[in-house]
């Protein structure tokens, strides 16, 4: 098994003042392996979001390194980093964050447009993804005409469609009722198994934790416990 993402003593501190400084992520060294379905768990404020942002190259570490397939993303910036995120990482956010003026299809298509994928191929993949996330026939709806669960499925499709190496999902079920949340998680698990797609997601929901094959426990920014089931 090969590592997709690994961090070495990665730290993210907020504030310059010793006294008031927040160590949101503190000396975290983890390795995520291809095909894993890993969960970062911890109470609110424990650093889950910050760690995911570091893993995805959205934020720069105060110290330490983040390597994705052997490339140190902490050293990248600007258009290079944008392109790297576009081609290697998929994101799913707690509050869906779809583009409101785009239909479901267009939201999924957009990232392929950035990648320069041909129109016919884009269309094929959009149709395919909609079917995989169970939204056939809803492709032309705008986000405000979709339920929360449906919107998050579109977000999953958007993250998957560019064929990233890893999908990072920050509390993807937090805004959903538990039934819908579990259904979404089952969908992610299915995609994980069918496509060997690597997932890292955060949660503080007990019911959801149970479905993960690996639990990385965060507490005050530090890894408490890293258990594989």
């Amino acid at each position: 098994m090969s590592g997709v993402i690994s961090t070495t003593d990665v730290c993210r501190y907020f504030g310059d003042d010793e006294e008031t400084m927040v160590k949101a992520v503190d000396r975290v060294s983890i390795e995520i392996v291809r095909g894993e379905f890993a969960t970062i768990v911890g109470p609110s404020g424990s650093g889950k979001t910050t760690l995911l942002h570091l893993l995805g190259g959205l934020d720069n570490p105060t110290s330490g390194s983040v390597e994705l397939s052997g490339t140190n993303i902490a050293a990248m910036s600007g258009a290079v980093l944008s392109d790297f995120r576009r081609d290697h990482i998929g994101f799913i956010f707690q509050s869906y964050n779809l583009i409101p003026v785009f239909s479901a299809e267009e939201n999924i298509e957009y990232i392929m447009l950035l990648q320069g994928v041909e129109a016919s191929e884009r269309k094929r993949r959009v149709t395919d993804m909609l079917q995989q996330v169970g939204l056939e026939g809803l492709g032309d709806r705008r986000p405000n005409k979709l339920s929360g669960g449906q919107q998050q499925r579109v977000a999953v499709a958007r993250a998957m469609v560019s064929h990233p190496e890893i999908i990072l999902a920050d509390e993807p079920t937090a805004n959903l009722d538990s039934k819908t949340g579990i259904a979404l998680l089952d969908l992610m698990k299915e995609l994980n198994e069918n496509h060997n797609m690597t997932f890292v997601f955060s949660t503080h929901d007990e019911k959801i934790m149970n479905r993960a094959s690996r639990l990385i426990h965060l507490h005050d920014g530090e890894v408490d416990l890293d258990e594989r089931k």
Partner: protein, 406 residues
């Protein structure tokens, strides 16, 4: 295509705000076009008025005759010059003139007069002299049975000397050789009315005037009409090179008082335009910045999933450009019939208006690419310029912070 769709939908997202912005853009445009049309129109009317009345596009004299006319400052080979000008492709027509002050007498009265000798056929195709005749007919070069030449006289002279068609007119002046010039002419036409600028002018056939003034085939002025209105300065320079011993001036110099007041007036106009455009753009800037601030989170997401910062900035520029374009299309649709009406029908003025010294009783606009294109470029250019700071702001949005701001 998807980006254009995105821009288009984002514009329609805030319907009311976009509509207000579009209205102010279109309104500013229409105002600019109207004002350009009015100023271009009334000035080009004034210009064509004096160019056709007597000035022409280009004038040729000896030395400083134009500023300090002296009877002996003459062009001595008008025939050679005429051949040169006739062969010039750029020139529509030209005419030859001599000038002299004189005193005009009838049997009982006298009056000061300006004698102008004109090459009759050339003058007819170069100036509007023939059209200004209010009584009688355009004269010819022939002597009558008693050996007198014909004359066309301004209505003012006809009135003060109390003479009319067929009557005798006596002119007394000084010849180029210093002799006293006097001769009798027969009035064959009245030019203009008692308020015309030509009211005290006596027009004679060129040869008659040359004979009368002992000028032996020389002339004072050559006035040239070009085929292309806009070429006066260029062609004047070309002719000046060919005629180093003479002085060649485009109408902008001949009518420099008019030209300068026109330039100053246009500058004032541009300042006014600038002010309007400024007001419009404060509104546009506000709209663009607001729409960026409102969508901080969206831009953060677009960046997070891999849009390059420059692409985000371009999206804002595209949006602004699209809004401006749509507004301008509306502006053109509204102003085109308006300006067309204004150009072809015009507005009758209750009181004549002074346009750089020329009284105009009719106000008409101009329908040209300049009138529509200039404000168009200006507004599009400014709108795009304004979108740059907003775009850079959007491009700099940090995805992490955008995502946390709820």
């Amino acid at each position: 295509m998807l980006l254009l769709k995105l821009a288009y939908r984002n514009i329609f997202r805030q319907r009311r705000r976009s509509l207000l912005t579009a209205l102010s853009l279109a309104g500013g445009y229409i105002l600019c076009v109207f004002s350009f049309s009015l100023s271009e129109g009334s000035y080009s009317n004034a210009i064509s008025f004096f160019i056709l009345d007597h000035t022409g596009h280009i004038q040729i004299h000896l030395d400083d005759y134009r500023l300090r006319p002296k009877i002996h400052k003459t062009i001595d080979d008008p025939q050679g010059l005429s051949e040169l000008l006739d062969a010039n492709e750029e020139i529509e027509s030209h005419t030859l003139r001599v000038f002299a002050p004189a005193i005009a007498y009838s049997e009982k009265d006298n009056s000061p007069a300006q004698v102008i000798g004109v090459a009759l056929e050339r003058e007819r195709s170069t100036s509007t002299l023939a059209a200004k005749i209010t009584a009688g007919e355009y004269i010819d070069n022939a002597l009558d049975a008693e050996g007198y030449y014909s004359a066309m006289i301004g209505a003012g002279i006809a009135n003060s000397l109390n003479i009319g068609l067929g009557d005798e007119l006596i002119l007394i002046s000084q010849g180029a050789d210093g002799s006293i010039a006097n001769d009798i002419f027969i009035v064959k036409a009245i030019v203009g009315n008692r308020a015309s600028p030509d009211r005290t002018t006596v027009f004679l056939p060129l040869t008659a005037a040359q004979e009368f003034l002992s000028m032996y085939g020389s002339v004072h002025e050559v006035s040239i009409l070009l085929k292309d209105d806009g070429e006066a300065r260029v062609q004047a320079a070309v002719l000046q090179d060919q005629l180093p011993e003479l002085t060649v001036d485009p109408w902008q110099i001949v009518e420099s008082t008019f030209y300068q007041s026109m330039q100053a007036d246009k500058q004032g106009n541009n300042f006014f335009m600038g002010f309007i455009v400024f007001i419009v753009f404060v509104g546009v800037l506000n709209t663009v910045l607001m729409s960026v601030l409102e969508r901080t989170r969206e831009f953060g997401v677009l960046k997070a999933i891999g849009s390059r910062p420059l692409k985000i900035a371009l999206m804002i520029t595209l949006e602004t450009g699209l809004l401006a374009s749509l507004s301008l299309v509306a502006g053109i649709l509204v102003s085109l019939p308006l300006i067309a009406w204004f150009t072809f029908l015009g507005i009758e003025l209750a009181e004549p208006m002074d346009v750089g010294g020329i009284m105009m009783s009719h106000l008409t606009g101009e329908l040209s690419l300049f009138v529509f294109g200039m404000p168009l470029l200006f507004i599009i250019g400014f709108a795009l310029l304004i979108s740059i700071p907003a775009g850079l702001r959007a491009a700099r949005i940090s995805p992490t912070e955008a995502m946390r701001s709820n």
